[in-house]
Each structure stands twice: as C-alpha cells, then as structure tokens.
C-alpha cells in the first residue's frame, strides 16, 4: 500500500523522482524491500590473481556477500536467496532480463564486475529498478586489493543512499573495550573493528584498565580513559600510528572524554575533592576552560553537532538528570523530567535528538528525546545496558548490555547490541571477546 502511494507521487512529480523504489527509513520496517544481490562477475585470470593475493576463491562473490549481509542487517532490505537467480552474473550486469528478476519477486537488483588491472582492484556496479525496468545508478572505482571488504561496504552505502535518500553507515568502524576474565578482575583492552565485526584488532595490551574510547568525527583519533600507572587520566590515541599521549593531566581524575564536532577540543570531567565538573581542552594551544562550576557531579558531556550546545549528566537536583547548556556553560537547563534516573546523553549527528540511558524501577533503558526534553521514547529495556553511540547517519544506536549473574555470581557477560531509532531491528553485534563502551566512527569514504 505504502509503495503504491509512493509510486503515485513520483509519477505526479517526476522532478522529485530519484527512483521509483523508495525505502521509508523513518518507521519500523516490518516489510523489508526484497532485492537481489547478484555475485559480481569476474573473469578467470582476474580470479586467479586475486586468489593469489587475497586467498579468496571468488572475490566477486565475496564482495557481494558483504553487500548482502550489510543490507540485511539494516533491517530495511530482504536480500533474496541466490539459488533462485535465473541469470548469470556477467550477463545480468550487461542488461538484466527484468522478467526473470520479477519472477523471484525482486524489486531491485545489484550487479557488477570485478577486474584485476595494474595490480589494482577495479569494481563497477549497477543498481537496477526491476519494476520500472531501468538502471538507477552505475559507479566504478579502483583501489588496492586488500581493501576488498571496504569495496563491499562502499557499494552498500551507495545502494542504501540511493534507495532511502540518506547516507549509509557501512563503511565505518567501531572502537570499543574488549573484556576478558572474572567480573572482579576484568582485563580491558581497546579494540577496533569494521562495523560488521570483521578486521578486529586490539590496540592496547590489557596491562592497564581502559574505558570509554570515543572517535574524533573528523579524523582517526580516539580519546579514552586509561588507568596507566594507576592515574586515571584522559588520553589521546592515533589509531594509524599507535601514538598515545595524556591530555587530561590535571591534579585529579579526568574522565568521560569526547571530541568537539570540529575535533579541535576535548570535553571531559575533572574530579577533585569529591566534586566533578566539566572542562574543555584545546588540543593545539592546550588552553583549559572550565565549563561548569557546581558542587554536584557533572559528567558525560556531549556536544551538539553544530558545537553550540553541550548536553551533560548532573545530580544537582539530587538525582542524575540530563541538562543542556550553551557551549560556554551559560543557560543550564534540565531537560529530563520523566520518572527514574537519566545518564549518558549523546547528541544525534542530525542534531534533533539526544540518546540516553535511563534507570527506572531496577531496569535499564536506552531511549531518545528531543533536545528540549520532549518526546521521550524508550527503545529497549533490559537488566543492564548503557552508553548509546550513534551511527553517522543518526539512524542506528550501538550500546552495550550486561547480563545478571546467578546466585553464585556466575554467568556474567557484556556484549554490544544495536537497535534502530524506530525501536525495531535489535541485534547483537558479534565480537571475539566480551565488549563494552562502543563508539561509532563517521563514514571513512566521502
């Protein structure tokens, strides 16, 4: 029904039409769009070259599997079983026989071709509208062969953008804390992986406790809390070079760091004499500014994407609530007024919402509210979960969840989960070890 209406609108206003198929991302999608991801065609000599370099039998098919998995995970698309495909990849890429794809109920089709040219991986791909019987998009790009997984993610992003009208989030990474060992003596390491869980890499050895890594949205820098030499301080880490340096070297604990949207400052809490306030440090000049000055706990600061406002967590009312202030600390306003305690406010990259953790009657919730506190919506309830982080397009939240232990204190686990802003499509994000404190990068390409 919805699709018919959209079809109608686009016929009426052809100027607006960037495609006949449109996936509405603003509502819980209980009827994902059926589409076919044809394996990318590849000729034999290219196939052998890639097999030698990457140790993958058929790189064309491997890349299409990444696309298929990404689109399926988004919850908006239903990739059809390849067994049912009637047309061969190379022929489909030239000109699909639309009736064949209609027959298996595909509404969109992705085809493509991989070539080995001058030691590089060249990929072209096309997105076809099956019902309208025409090409919606064709793109080609060249990269080093070891980037083949990213090729799959970039294709996924392009398809997602073309069909939903919004940027994707597949060519991204997640930094998080990998956890091992008993609950009373957890060993924690910084780890990074692709958004789909591949290419996992540990960035620290686990000799000291590390917590709350967060990406700079403008570069591959990360800020986090380390207990190096038993002095909990905010650090800066360059993921590419591995260089680490302390930035919050104040006479007391610095914690809860995040970057400003332009990446030039770190905002954090500084605790001294039983009081935590919020400060910023300019990374170039090292100038420190005090933002809050209150005898309560002020922590978990997060900038609005335009850098003009800061949301934070304070117990100045007696209990943890969410507040918003101007970036200079003026005009502090409480915005959470529902029942329970509120923490970890994080401003959406779209600017319109704040995600939070809520504790009410012994249950933890991940929710969102407008930046004035109205329109509170709880997305998921559990024994323990917290620390939401937004996908770069502001459509998905990743967070961590801990399990309740039994009478003997056994059965503890910490895992990453994601959920759509709609409250649908909740799923575990698999990690090699237990995991917590996820932070989502911005798009690596474009």
């Amino acid at each position: 029904m919805i699709k018919k209406i959209i079809l109608f609108i686009f016929i009426l206003f052809p100027i607006n039409a960037w495609g006949l198929i449109k996936v509405d991302i603003t509502r819980g999608n209980l009827d994902p769009l059926p589409l076919a991801v044809s394996p990318l065609a590849i000729e034999n000599d290219s196939k052998f070259k890639f097999q030698k370099i990457l140790n993958k039998k058929d790189i064309g098919s491997e890349i299409s599997k990444i696309v298929e998995r990404n689109l399926k995970t988004s919850g908006l698309f239903n990739p059809l079983d390849k067994e049912a495909f009637l047309q061969k990849p190379d022929i489909a890429n030239l000109k699909p026989r639309f009736e064949d794809w209609k027959l298996i109920k595909a509404q969109a089709l992705i085809t493509g071709k991989v070539n080995f040219i001058d030691e590089k991986l060249r990929v072209e791909f096309r997105l076809w509208d099956i019902l309208a019987g025409r090409e919606m998009m064709a793109l080609a790009f060249t990269t080093v062969p070891t980037n083949w997984r990213r090729v799959g993610h970039i294709i996924s992003d392009k398809v997602y953008e073309r069909l939903t009208g919004e940027k994707g989030y597949f060519d991204t990474r997640i930094i998080y804390v990998a956890e091992e060992g008993p609950k009373t003596q957890r060993v924690k390491k910084l780890a990074i992986m692709d958004q789909d869980g591949f290419n996992n890499k540990f960035l620290t050895l686990g000799n000291e406790l590390v917590l709350t890594p967060r990406f700079n949205k403008t570069s591959q820098m990360v800020t986090y809390l380390s207990y190096f030499r038993n002095l909990p301080r905010v650090y800066l880490l360059d993921i590419e070079t591995g260089t680490q340096e302390v930035v919050g070297d104040f006479p007391g604990m610095t914690f809860a760091p995040r970057f400003s949207p332009d990446g030039k400052k770190i905002i954090m809490s500084f605790a001294k004499d039983g009081n935590s306030d919020i400060f910023t440090m300019d990374l170039e000049s090292r100038v420190v500014d005090r933002i809050t000055n209150h005898p309560s706990i002020d922590t978990s600061p997060s900038y609005s994407p335009d850098g003009k406002f800061i949301s934070f967590n304070s117990d100045r009312s007696g209990y943890q609530q969410i507040y918003v202030m101007e970036s200079n600390g003026k005009n502090v306003k409480r915005i959470s007024f529902g029942k329970g305690l509120y923490g970890t406010p994080v401003w959406s990259p779209r600017g319109d919402l704040i995600a939070f953790t809520k504790l009410h009657k012994g249950k933890f919730y991940i929710g969102v509210m407008r930046t004035d506190g109205s329109g509170e919506r709880l997305l998921t309830e559990n024994f323990y979960q917290e620390a939401p982080s937004w996908s770069p397009n502001g459509r998905v939240l990743i967070f961590y969840r801990e399990t309740k232990t039994d009478d003997k204190g056994k059965g503890f686990s910490a895992k990453l989960w994601s959920i759509d802003l709609t409250g649908y499509n909740e799923r575990e994000v698999k990690t090699p070890t237990d995991a917590s404190d996820p932070s989502w990068s911005s798009l690596l390409s474009n």
């Binding site: 009373t184 406790l209 038993n230 809860a256 009081n275 706990i297 967590n313 323990y384």
Partner: protein, 159 residues
C-alpha cells in the same frame, strides 16, 4: 492543649514505628545490611588488629554512616601512630549505574572518607584518592547484598 496531646501521641506512634521498621530491615538483610548499607564482615580486611580497612555506603550516597565514622576514627588513630604510612583511598560503586557517573561517585565516596580522616588529624599529603567506579567489584553477584558490599571506600597502604 488538646492539639499538643494529639501531637505527642502521634510522635510516640511514629517513634514506635521507626523502632519496629529498623528491626524489620535489619532482619531482611539477614543481619548483613542496615537499610541498604552493608554491615557484615565478609569482605573486610584489616590494616591492623581491630582496624577494618573499608566503609560502606547506601545506593547513590556518599554519606558516612555511624559505623563508617567509627571505622574511620580507628583508621585515623592507627595512622597517627604509624606516621610513616601513606594511604590510597579507593572509592567504588555498584554495577547499577552508568560507568561515568559511577567514576565520579567513587571519587566522591573516597573523598568523604578522606575528609573524615583529615578531621581526625591525618595530614592530607599522606592520602591519595583513586576511584574505580564500578570496575572492581569484590562480589560478582547481581543482588542487593552483593551490591552493598561493592559500594565502598577501601583504605590501602601505599608504602
């Protein structure tokens, strides 16, 4: 006059209720909790004979209880006698709070202990404070008794 009498009676009833409920809560925690503050000895270690190393807190609180103050007075007396010993006050929270807020809460709890030791004559340059938030529970259980053991400030010898 009549009003005063009613007030007096009401007060008596309230006092009686309080006494009863205090007993009741103590029973509910099988003698190990008062309200939700841990009063048992399971996890407690000793800095010296008769000097417990830790104090416990109510949920979301950093106020020292009567028992905590007594423990800290013993610690202060022992520290005054052993003037070469420096200490670290390690503040902790239970698992029922967000990581960052709990770091701040642990720091607040350890400082409550620090302030009290200072009023009893321990110099501030002998004391450092370290918050672990909820990162180092002593009891891995997910129940009110376990949580009460984990809401603590522990005095640790630094040298």
């Amino acid at each position: 006059m009549e009003f005063n009498k009613i007030l007096k009676n009401a007060l008596l009833v309230i006092v009686a209720c309080l006494a009863l409920s205090a007993c009741a809560t103590k029973k509910a925690g099988t003698g190990q909790m008062q309200g939700d503050v841990y009063t048992g000895k399971d996890t407690v270690e000793y800095l010296a004979s008769g000097v417990p190393d830790r104090v416990f807190f109510a949920t979301n609180e950093s106020v020292l209880t009567t028992a905590s103050r007594e423990t800290l007075r013993k610690q202060a007396a022992w520290l005054r006698k052993n003037s070469k010993i420096n200490i670290v006050l390690e503040g902790h929270a239970d698992e029922r709070g967000t990581r960052e807020y709990n770091l701040a809460l642990g720091e607040r709890r350890a400082n409550a202990a620090k302030d009290y030791l200072m009023t009893y004559g321990v110099s501030s340059d002998r004391i450092s404070v370290l918050s672990y938030g909820k990162e180092r529970p002593v009891d891995s259980g997910s129940n009110p008794l376990s949580w009460s053991k984990n809401r603590r400030s522990v005095t640790v010898k630094a040298n």
